[in-house]
């Protein structure tokens, strides 16, 4: 029967691919081979996996226990055939802070990639105890697994001081510093919308929103089912006690009723066992998938902002250009009536009244504007490139994310279904077993 020792910190193990899978692993041939995915939806944006990188987070250990600096360290191990690793079974001990550091790096270096989020340091919802509890660590393991599913992330390596576990290379266009940053900062407006929304991204956004809605709703309802099941566990326990009481009163059938009471007890235990080993982990996974999806949504938002940057910048540029053109027109003798609008006409008049030195100042101004325009044009080009590249990357990323999502859901639903099947099989056996026992009660009416 199940025991409650599974909650004990020390006995936590992960039935994940660590031990058995590693034993089976045969190293692949040659470094850096490319393998194409035999799926029927390979398009230009489909990512290419260059090998495998399977990770696991295990073996939580309390370090510096009893001191005020106590923390938990996890054994992060991997199996891989990627060339950039010096060994095919790299491993190191890392603590939560290290994960945070890694994530921050990834987010900075791969803005177009959906970096999975880390579980909060103190997630009260799913924790039964302190932060060293099994569920907590399970979620971290999942987050780490997410990371390894990202081909761009795993295919590229950078230097990482000291341990040499994961080395992530820089990749992708670096946003150029300077003027663009300044201007983007000024122009960034949380409420402004992209002027020319790309339908693909609109669809994507909608899909993500709906996906998240589905997850949220499922999580809520499944949590309700879980709580109801916990109540049923207690109810069947009480029923077993009541039936046993009846058995004591009815001295002729005490034995069969005791057996029946046992069956009720078993059923109650099975319900509890399923909740602990199937439903709860499922809910945790569901929730982490949700936060993963939030990260995806954040990337889409970022992409929108990049496009927004570009558009705003373009607008600014065209504004300045128009100004310059107007000046040029004036200088060349064409009066300011070329559709520049009331505003500039009034400005002209005011200038004339002020007695500004028309031509020289105008030429100076024009020269300044030219410089500005040149700068802006560079900036716009860069912004355009950035935006386009980001959009491309995002499209690719979506496929990656979609894959990851499918794989996660497959695992989640598969495990859940397995748990349910196991429960119903065991319960059915129990009920089948008790029927002949009761039928043997002799009746004489």
């Amino acid at each position: 029967m199940l025991n409650d020792d599974e909650d004990v910190f020390d006995s936590v193990t992960w039935e994940s691919p660590t031990a058995p899978v590693y034993a089976d692993h045969t190293p692949s041939t040659g470094p850096g081979y490319r393998q194409s995915i035999d799926s029927n939806e390979s398009g230009p944006h489909d990512p290419k996996w260059e090998g495998h990188l399977i990770t696991a987070v295990t073996d939580p250990q309390k370090e510096l226990a009893e001191t005020k600096d106590a923390y938990v360290s996890y054994l992060v191990s991997a199996k891989t055939n990627l060339p950039m690793f010096s060994t095919s079974n790299p491993s190191a001990r890392r603590r939560f802070q290290d994960f945070v550091f890694l994530r921050e790096h990834l987010v900075k270096d791969f803005p177009a990639c959906v970096v999975p989020p880390l579980p909060g340091k103190h997630r009260l919802e799913y924790l039964t105890g302190d932060r060293f509890s099994p569920e907590f660590m399970e979620r971290r393991r999942l987050e780490y697994v997410h990371t390894s599913l990202e081909p761009p992330l795993s295919n590229n390596v950078t230097g990482n001081a000291g341990a040499g576990l994961l080395r992530v290379l820089r990749m992708g266009p670096e946003p150029s510093p300077g003027i663009v940053d300044n201007i983007t900062d000024t122009l960034l407006n949380a409420f402004s919308r992209v002027r020319k929304p790309d339908e693909r991204f609109l669809d994507m956004r909608e899909g993500v929103d709906k996906f998240e809605d589905g997850l949220v709703l499922s999580e809520r309802l499944w949590t309700r089912v879980r709580n109801r099941t916990t109540d049923l566990t207690a109810d069947y326990h009480d029923m077993a006690v009541a039936v046993q009481g009846l058995g004591f009163l009815e001295s002729g059938i005490t034995d069969p009723l005791n057996h029946f009471s046992n069956t009720l007890l078993e059923f109650s235990a099975l319900l509890r066992h399923t909740t602990q080993t199937t439903t709860d982990p499922f809910l945790i996974q569901l929730h982490s998938l949700l936060t993963y999806s939030h990260a995806n949504r954040a990337v889409l938002k970022l992409r929108d902002q990049k496009q927004l940057d570009f558009e705003e910048l373009s607008d600014y540029l065209s504004g300045v250009s128009a100004e310059r053109d107007r000046l040029a027109a004036i200088i060349n003798g064409h009066a300011g009536s070329s559709g520049l609008g009331l505003g500039s006409y009034l400005k002209d008049r005011v200038d004339a009244i002020r007695g500004a030195d028309d031509d020289r100042s105008r030429v100076e101004k024009m020269k300044k504007l030219d410089v500005k325009i040149k700068e802006l044009q560079d900036a716009v080009t860069t912004a355009h490139e950035t935006s386009d590249a980001f959009s491309d990357e995002t499209l690719r990323e979506q496929h990656v994310f979609q894959r990851a999502k499918e794989a996660e859901m497959k695992e989640m639903l598969g495990n859940f279904a397995d748990g349910q099947i196991e429960f119903y099989k065991a319960a059915m056996e129990e009920w089948d077993r008790i029927i002949p026992v009761i039928q043997r009660i002799h009746v004489d009416v």
Binding site: P17, V21, I54, A242, P256, E406, Y424
Partner: protein, 575 residues
């Protein structure tokens, strides 16, 4: 107390061993699993039928009387005792306005090929009549009237609630069938007329035997309260309360009373409460799954490809759970909760029955005591009379008037006494004697009147008074002797009948519990089976989602899909 076993009216088989008490009757449970079946009988307890029939028949059902009945009182009687497994069915519950200002529900009862209709209040009157006609039998319960809880929830619409009506239908049907299977009650013509569609129930209620029922059952014979030939001495019997203690109680019935109390407490307490709670919880669980199934369905529409299919199939498994759980809750309600409720009601019925027997016992003891008292009184009177005669004889020609009041008194004193108290001699007044006071029970109305009249007859002639007193006392004694005889008879009859019916009830209870437990196990088993199938289907669909490319290029042997948690890696080669 005499032994009551020899007059057991239910004893059809002489080899049946009378049980000690109803609570400890040993039921043999070590029988082999296949008891000898009578192939011609279709037994509901062995068939997995959706409609569980109560009371259960149990394996091999004996014919109702070992000799078949031949003198049927009516067609219904014939049907009920035709030897087949007759079942009375309530086929419908119809709303009607017939003969009433407000609409009510009438239940259609089918017995063989006869149909009759009755409303709930008529069932009530049938039952209460049977209770009065057969004070020594266990009359099965009918579903209770509205409970306060129901009213609170439904607020007036309770009567029309469909589940309420369905439950009443089932429980009324069970009631009728229990009557039909009772060896004595199935022969009661009032019951037959209830089942007869052509008879006006109102008429039945106002004609014999029901119209002959006395107001106080305790003052009528136990075996038939309507017996018009019952001795008038019945009216002389006291009317004690059920709480009146017994001097010499019957241990068997003390045990029965104790057991019944415990049973009642257990059933209406822990058992009923937890059952109700569980059934409610399953209904809520089913509701949750209905919502979840719908949510998953919607969810699947937003996804594509194999993921969408997997989510959809999962949603279908959840839907299947909703439906199977609804069925489970319903079956638990019908086949476990309702019988438990019925047996809780049975406990209070049996309590009342045991109280009746207790009262009969008290009657007997009280009558005994009264008889003792009267006999002593007579003895006193006769002693006085004897003394008087002796003195008369001794004193010779003295006039009867001047007889001394007590033989110890001095003649001189007595002369003056006679002068002063003209009505000198009075028989010792039975009333003020403190030793006898206990015998004067509150219910002895008639005897009180008798002795009062005795007081009143303090006529001038004490000798006549005494002689009158003697003859009156002798009369009372003779009446009390009759009454004692009746009380003894009734007590004997009641005790043996009740004991026999308790035994029968116990056997039926075991059969019913067996049925309930089997039904519960089967309901759960079916629930598991349906859900298992649905989830296996869902799992197959989930497996069809293609694996993630990031996986180990492991060798051929695929890992078995066990219940262990897996990473998103599989051993399928991605190449």
């Amino acid at each position: 107390m005499e032994a009551f076993d020899d007059e057991n009216p239910f004893d059809t088989e002489s080899d049946r061993i009378p049980s000690e008490t109803s609570s400890t009757s040993k039921v043999d449970i070590s029988e082999p699993p296949s008891p000898p079946f009578n192939p011609s009988r279709q037994l509901s307890s062995e068939i997995t039928s959706p409609e569980r029939t109560f009371p259960s028949q149990g394996p091999p059902r004996q014919p109702q009387r070992s000799n078949f009945k031949s003198d049927f009182c009516c067609a219904r009687d014939r049907i009920l005792h035709s030897g087949d497994d007759v079942e009375i069915l309530i086929t419908d519950a119809q709303k009607t306005n017939l003969g009433a200002t407000t609409p009510y529900i009438t239940y259609v009862i089918q017995t063989g090929n006869t149909e009759s209709r009755h409303r709930y209040s008529e069932f009530e009157s049938l039952r209460s009549s049977l209770v009065k006609l057969y004070p020594t039998l266990i009359i099965p319960p009918i579903p209770s009237k509205q409970t306060l809880g129901d009213y609170a929830v439904k607020q007036g619409k309770a009567k029309e609630d469909a589940t309420m009506i369905a439950r009443r239908k089932r429980m009324l049907q069970t009631f009728l069938n229990r009557l039909a299977r009772h060896p004595i009650l199935s022969n009661e013509h009032v019951f037959h007329r209830f089942l007869d569609g052509e008879v006006s129930w109102h008429e039945v209620l106002n004609s014999p035997p029901i119209s002959l029922l006395p107001k106080n059952i305790l003052k009528a014979p136990s075996h038939d309260p309507t017996d018009q030939e019952a001795s008038p001495a019945y009216t002389a019997l006291p009317n004690p309360s059920a709480a009146h203690p017994l001097r010499n109680p019957d241990q068997r019935f003390l045990d029965s009373e104790a057991f019944t109390n415990k049973f009642a407490v257990h059933l209406s307490g822990p058992m009923e409460k937890v059952t109700r709670r569980t059934v409610k919880r399953w209904s809520e669980y089913a509701q949750d799954h209905a919502e979840l199934g719908a949510a998953l369905n919607g969810f699947s529409l937003n996804e594509t490809g194999s993921l969408s299919g997997a989510i959809e199939k999962t949603g279908q498994a959840v839907d299947a759970t909703y439906m199977s759980t609804t069925k489970l809750a319903q079956e638990l309600e019908q086949n476990w909760a309702e019988p438990i409720n019925e047996y809780a009601q049975f406990s209070s019925i049996i309590k009342k029955l045991l109280a009746y027997r207790h009262q009969k016992h008290v009657q007997y003891e009280m009558t005994q005591d009264a008889l003792e008292a009267k006999r002593e009184q007579l003895e006193e009177l006769e002693k006085s009379e004897h003394e008087a005669r002796r003195l008369e004889a001794a004193l010779g020609g003295r006039s009867a008037v001047s007889l001394p009041s007590s033989p110890d008194q001095e003649p001189t004193e007595e002369e003056s006494n006679i002068q002063t108290h003209s009505a000198s001699y009075v028989p010792p007044h039975p009333g003020p004697n403190p030793a006898r006071r206990n015998a004067r029970a509150p219910g002895m109305g008639f005897l009180n009147a008798l002795s009062y009249t005795l007081h009143g007859m303090m006529d001038v002639d004490p000798e006549t008074a005494r002689r009158n007193g003697i003859s009156k006392t002798k009369e009372t004694i003779s009446q009390l002797e009759d009454a004692l005889h009746l009380a003894a008879q009734d007590l004997k009859y009641s005790s043996s009948t009740i004991q026999a019916d308790l035994d029968r009830f116990q056997r039926q209870k075991v059969a019913d519990i067996r049925e309930m437990a089997i039904s519960m196990a089967q309901s759960h088993r079916d629930w598991c089976k349906k859900n298992l199938e649905a989830w296996e289907e869902a799992k197959r669909e989930v497996d069809m989602i293609p694996d993630h490319p990031n996986k180990l290029p492991s060798p051929s042997a695929p890992q078995p899909s066990t219940s262990t948690r897996r990473d998103s890696t599989t051993t399928l080669n991605g190449r």
